[in-house]
């Protein structure tokens, strides 16, 4: 192993990247605007939820209930005729249709418990879930206040003091921004290294390297450090300038510790890029294989939906993915302010995965280099 060679080859990679303006623009976009858009787009679960109300009662109470729904959690409810209700759900105009039956107020005052029907489009899972229990509570509150009128009723004897830790107002941007950074780190580190390797193979320059006093190990590690550095710097910039700066998102834990974790993660993902670039023969194959690898890495590593809800088999499969551990790590450090004492197991996992992947890739890479040409 020769440090000078690794340095030189890595610098060459950096120069190549600097020479590709489209690539640079894409990288810049991915770590600035893209993060910003992702942070500002991610809604709270209940935001502008479209609701329609079928008011068959037309009483003061039913109007009072309808008035209780207002932005930002709900769109101002529209009154829907009973005939149009189904169509509205079918076409996805509404997620919720609240049906207040005829004589609702009268029955209630008479001491009966008339049912109110809430139709929910359950294909919109998250919204359906949170929204329906929210609406349930709202209707009950309105009715309760209405019934008690002037005499305030008994306060429920036990007060539930809900405190949301780490993100008191459950603000989505916090989550969206950081998860987007993680996704982009994965995408870029795989494409940068993998595509660079395939390009060298397609152009024949790698063959040239192999007649020089350079070992495959050096070629590989050079690509890893250079592309990894680019991704890591961009990621650090993104966290500090975009997330903390432009978006004003408070970060609980140590950014340095996060970047340290990110470095290990990038080591693993860039290696993965080289692996994909080695097992595929052409850019065309690489493109498809990369997409097929990226989707599960993005969707199933816990950044979109929590791991614990997934079936065990999927959890096992995803346990070998570096991003799974990185997402865990990032959430712990950035949101919950966890320190090294808490996250060291994840760091160790990441390192183990990275090293294993590296050895495997090196073996494949050497073999491929020998069989090349």
């Amino acid at each position: 192993m020769c440090i000078a060679n690794i340095t030189q080859l890595g610098l060459k990679e950096l120069r190549s990247l600097a020479f590709d303006p489209i690539m640079l623009v894409l990288i810049a976009y991915v770590f600035t605007l893209d993060i910003y858009v992702a942070a500002t787009v991610m809604p709270e679960t209940l935001l502008n939820a479209p609701i329609g109300i079928v008011d068959e009662d037309r009483s003061p109470l039913s109007r009072r209930i309808a008035d209780a729904f207002y932005p930002p959690k709900f769109q101002s409810p529209s009154l829907v005729s009973i005939g149009n209700a189904d169509l509205g759900l079918d076409q996805g105009t509404y997620t919720f249709i609240l049906d207040i039956p005829p004589d609702f107020e009268r029955d209630l005052l008479a001491g009966r418990r008339p049912p109110v029907q809430l139709n929910v489009d359950a294909t919109r899972m998250t919204q359906a879930f949170t929204g329906s229990s929210y609406i349930d509570a709202m209707v009950n509150t309105e009715v309760g206040t209405f019934l008690r009128h002037d005499a305030p009723g008994a306060v429920p004897p036990v007060d539930l003091a809900l405190r949301i830790a780490f993100n008191p107002s459950l603000e989505q941007p916090w989550f969206g921004a950081v998860m987007q950074i993680i996704n982009n780190v994965t995408i870029l580190s795989i494409i940068l290294t993998g595509a660079a390797l395939i390009r060298e193979r397609e152009r024949g320059t790698i063959e040239h390297l192999l007649v020089m006093p350079v070992e495959p190990f050096e070629i590989m590690i050079a690509k890893i450090w250079s592309m990894g550095l680019v991704v890591l710097l961009a990621c650090g910039f993104s966290v500090i300038a975009v997330v903390q700066g432009a978006l004003q998102i408070p970060i609980e834990g140590s950014v340095l510790l996060f970047l340290f974790g990110a470095a290990i993660n990038v080591f693993a993902t860039t290696t993965l890029g080289i692996f994909l670039g080695t097992v595929t023969r052409s850019m065309q194959q690489f493109g498809i294989l990369m997409i097929l690898t990226l989707i599960p890495l993005m969707v199933l590593s816990g950044g979109m939906t929590p791991q614990e809800s997934m079936p065990l088999v999927v959890q096992w499969v995803m346990a070998v993915a570096p991003t799974t551990h990185f997402v865990n790590l990032a959430q712990a450090i950035l949101y919950r302010g966890a320190g090294f004492a808490i996250v060291w197991p994840q760091l160790l996992d990441l390192l183990a995965i990275g090293m294993t992947l590296f050895c495997l890739t090196l073996w494949y890479f050497r073999r491929a280099m020998r069989k090349m040409s």
Binding site: Q117, P157, A161, I164, N167, L292, P306
Partner: protein
């Protein structure tokens, strides 16, 4: 041609050229590298956009698009480089059919023409061999066949015989002259680096630095320059400044008595690829300081032998020694003493000349102090000073070749292995190159192992070896080789050897087919070329793309079965149910009531209880590590106070790191608390709470059990049908740009829409197969019933895949490198589709730019359609409005692609 100029950026490739070329002749264009020969030819062919001046070809203005369309079936253009306009994975006859279709020929006509061309070029036996596996000479013959398929009136050949062995070259020109016999009036314009060839042309145009120096016959040229050979005439034509540096190559005789040690030694070197023997028991022994020439027809195993000697390729059997050491893959010490220059000049196109040299020097660990001096010495020695900051791709071939050599020599190796270093390089540059070789060998005692197709170069070697079909035919001094055949020239001897060998192999192959090439060819003009949209031309590209896909089964398999795998993992894994909430209780009361409260939570299907929390620090630690999603804190005196009716506060800590999950947990806890309270109130206090007096009946429609599978599986189909077809098409155009075959779009009658739609069709079909697979998977494996209209879903998928392949094409059209196309497609499809299209959060809930993006993404609307058709039992009636934006996007994307794609090179 009048005052034609062309600029690449700041450099001027052609400077006010005025030229009249008569029809019906063979016109040669000669000149040093990088003087604008190729640019001139591509302008005449209409492949490049005219910038300044006036150019009339076959009677009309080439700046006029209508004329170009009309005239292009009468012109054929064969670009520089071996088989650059051919498709490597397609077979010989498939390539020919592809071109024939582009010129609108029907099956019967195609068949006769192709048979005819194959027979006359002696390629009939190889009709099923992929073009990429042909030797260089054969590639050029195939390229010529492809150019002649439509009976052009004007044939433009850009260095057609560069890198081709002498025998193939002779055959190539025989072929051309035969064709010209039968097609009177066909004009041929050829650029060439071989002066022997140029001597046979009717007329010669010499060029230098973007100017025309002379026009006339070869004889006139000789007379004017008072030289005897064209090579010398050419040199004499050059401006004095350039000529001054040139002098005849002088190679001192090798001292005969030196008992030199052997540098290269090979015994029984053999290499097999499958059942094909590339190198067959080659023995070599080369002494120090010797210039050893390695000759042979294309594909005879020269390159393979060289690669085995450098250790790039492990020898199949046999052994080789360099400097007395066994050649193994990993011997770094030996590598330091060898300089290797491969056929393709593997330079880093993204590094400048200086950077390429410096990198090489550093990799060979030149001492830092000497490095700068050595690099500038090399720049100076190879006359690269003035281009030190230029990019290799912007340089002419000859300069690139000098750079390659400089790179190979920067570390002062003892042995140079050079694989066809002079192919495509002009005579002056070649002579200069050889003088350097000679000096290195004689002064520095460097051993040089060189392969070449130039016979005058071979004659300069100390010894040459002639290789054919993997075997060494003869190995001796050039004079001895010539004498052994009793030939006049080395070339004659060489061709003699090759012809003998060919006869020996196949017995009866008659290499000089005497049958006139086009005797049986239907005379008269090609069927009038249809200028509107031609299905046949489009089909030609469709077929080509399909064949390429078929030749690379890994890609198709990945696309089909990869998605099936992905749907399985995602369908199960992408779970939005919030369950398995891990909670623990910090019970400071430990009364019956407090335990009951905890039990109530633990009894829920959503919650999983963990070991109790000990104290506040424990709570903090476990929340931070993410072990707990929820911590319940029951204060001291909880039971007592509750019994007394005094206000009690329960503390609930929820992990809000993932806000959506936090919110859901919050509503769960609230509901559980209410339930517990009303239960307790009923049981213990006998009172009814006003709270919860309305029974809200919640009906989860379409997905009564609120399971993720029902919501997610139909959503996976749009996602996968977007990503995979887009990625498949994303490389289709940019790949042709990188490999050079895009030239076929420039010079054949195919229109941009035919080109793009033709490329789109195979991926559309593949996408539909994918759709069918995924739908079967959804219904059969995931048990998600397709309750709505299958017919409508099918039709909508078709339109949707049109749109997603359109995205891929668009990315492919505007990017210039494959890597950028991949990145752009990923960022343009994967990220927005997962986040802004309503996969998880309905688009109506999005805000800001994301909502805007979500609104224009076709996948947003297809998600609605897929969910509607699967879960909501809907069909055309309810879903047609969502089909409109998808259709619009497909159309807009195609129009954008057509507008962005250029029919000519700039």
């Amino acid at each position: 041609m009048h005052a034609v100029s062309l600029h690449h950026g700041r450099t001027c490739a052609l400077d006010g050229i005025t030229l009249d070329l008569p029809a019906g002749q063979i016109i040669g264009v000669i000149g040093p590298d990088g003087v604008g020969k190729s640019t001139l030819l591509s302008l005449i062919a209409g492949a490049r956009k005219l910038q300044e001046g006036m150019l009339e070809v076959l009677g009309d203005d080439m700046a006029d698009a209508a004329h170009r369309r009309a005239v292009c079936p009468r012109i054929a253009f064969m670009p520089q480089g071996l088989g650059r306009n051919l498709y490597a994975t397609l077979s010989v006859s498939e390539n020919l059919h592809f071109f024939a279709r582009l010129f609108g020929q029907a099956r019967a006509e195609r068949q006769t023409r192709i048979e005819d061309l194959l027979a006359s070029t002696g390629m009939s036996e190889f009709r099923d061999r992929p073009a990429g596996k042909l030797s260089g000479g054969m590639k050029q013959k195939l390229g010529l066949c492809c150019s002649l398929i439509h009976d052009p009136d004007l044939l433009i050949l850009d260095e057609p015989t560069t890198g081709v062995d002498p025998l193939s070259r002779v055959q190539f020109w025989e072929l051309i002259s035969r064709i010209r016999l039968t097609r009177n009036g066909m004009s041929v314009i050829v650029a060439t680096a071989y002066m022997e060839e140029a001597a046979g042309f009717d007329m010669l145009v010499t060029m230098n630095a973007g100017h025309v120096l002379s026009v006339g016959t070869a004889k006139e040229l000789l007379d004017r320059t008072r030289t005897r050979s064209l090579e010398n005439a050419f040199i004499a034509m050059m401006p004095a400044a350039e000529r001054r540096t040139h002098h005849d190559v002088v190679i001192a005789a090798r001292p005969a008595d030196v008992a030199a040690d052997v540098v290269i030694e090979a015994r029984g070197l053999t290499m097999r690829f499958g059942d094909f023997t590339a190198v067959d028991h080659v023995d070599l022994s080369i002494a120090r300081g010797e210039i050893f020439g390695f000759l042979g027809s294309n594909g005879c195993g020269k390159t393979t032998t060289m690669k085995m000697l450098t250790g790039l390729l492990a020898a199949g059997s046999g052994e080789a020694w360099l400097f007395g050491e066994r050649v193994t893959g990993g011997n770094l010490a030996v590598r330091r003493r060898v300089g290797y220059m491969s056929q393709g000049f593997s330079l880093y196109s993204e590094l400048s000349v200086l950077q390429n040299l410096t990198l090489q020097a550093r990799l060979f660990a030149l001492p830092r102090s000497a490095l700068a001096a050595r690099v500038s010495e090399m720049l100076h020695r190879f006359e690269l000073d003035h281009v030190a900051d230029a990019m290799p791709d912007d340089l002419p071939l000859g300069v690139r070749q000098r750079l390659s050599l400089a790179v190979a020599m920067v570390h002062s190796p003892d042995l140079l292995i050079l694989d066809e270093p002079t192919s495509g390089v002009d005579p002056i540059a070649r002579d200069m190159f050889w003088q350097m070789m000679a000096d290195l060998s004689r002064h520095d005692n460097v051993t040089i192992f060189i392969s070449t197709h130039f016979m005058n170069e071979a004659a300069r070697c100390d010894r040459i070896s002639l290789m054919n079909a993997g075997r060494v035919l003869v190995c001796d001094t050039p004079a001895a080789v010539t004498a052994s055949r009793r030939a006049k020239t080395l070339e004659e001897a060489f061709i003699g050897y090759l012809r003998d060998a060919a006869r020996g192999e196949t017995g009866t192959v008659n290499l000089s087919v005497s049958r006139p090439a086009a005797a049986t060819r239907p005379r008269g003009r090609v069927a009038e070329t249809w200028h509107g949209f031609s299905l046949r031309r489009m089909w030609s590209y469709t077929l080509r793309e399909t064949l390429e896909l078929a030749r690379d089964p890994i890609r198709g398999t990945l696309a089909l079965f990869g998605t099936v795998m992905l749907m399985l993992i995602l369908g199960y894994g992408l779970n939005l149910d919030v369950n398995n909430v891990r909670f623990a209780v910090l019970d400071s009361d430990n009364s019956m009531l407090s335990r009951d409260y905890a039990l109530n939570l633990a009894g829920s299907a959503y919650f999983v209880q963990q070991t109790p929390i000990v104290d506040a620090a424990d709570l903090d630690h476990r929340m931070r590590s993410g072990e707990l999603n929820l911590a319940i804190e029951l204060p001291p005196g909880f039971g007592r106070d509750l019994d007394r009716g005094a206000p009690v506060a329960v503390g609930a800590w929820i992990d809000g790191a993932n806000p959506q999950r936090g919110e859901t947990i919050q509503s769960y806890v609230q509901a559980m608390q209410l339930g517990w309270l009303s239960g307790m109130a009923r049981d213990r206090l006998g009172m009814r709470l006003a709270f919860g007096s309305v029974n809200v009946q919640i009906r989860f429609r379409y997905n009564p059990d609120v399971v993720s599978v029902v919501a997610m599986v139909p959503a996976m189909i749009p996602l996968l049908l977007l990503l995979i077809p887009a990625m498949l098409t994303a490389l289709s155009v940019v790949r042709e740009k990188e490999l050079g075959s895009i030239i076929n779009l420039y010079v054949t009658p195919v229109t941009r829409s035919e080109f793009l739609i033709g490329k789109q069709i195979p991926y559309l079909v593949l996408g539909m197969v994918n759709f069918i697979l995924l739908t079967i998977l959804a219904t059969a494996v995931f048990d998600v019933t397709l309750s709505g209209s299958l017919a409508f879903l099918f039709a909508a998928s078709f339109v949707f895949i049109l749109s997603s392949t359109g995205i891929g094409l668009l990315m492919s059209t505007f990017t210039r490198s494959q890597a950028a196309a991949i990145l752009a497609t990923t960022i343009g499809t994967l990220v927005p589709a997962i986040q802004y299209a309503g996969l998880i959060n309905p688009v109506s809930s999005l805000t800001g730019v994301g909502a805007l993006i979500g609104g224009i993404l076709p996948v947003t609307y297809f998600l609605v359609i897929a969910r509607g058709a699967f879960s909501k039992a809907l069909g055309f009636g309810a879903l047609w409005p969502d089909l409109l934006p998808i259709t619009a996007s497909a159309v807009v994307l195609m129009v954008l692609c057509i507008l962005l794609l250029k029919k000519q090179e700039k």
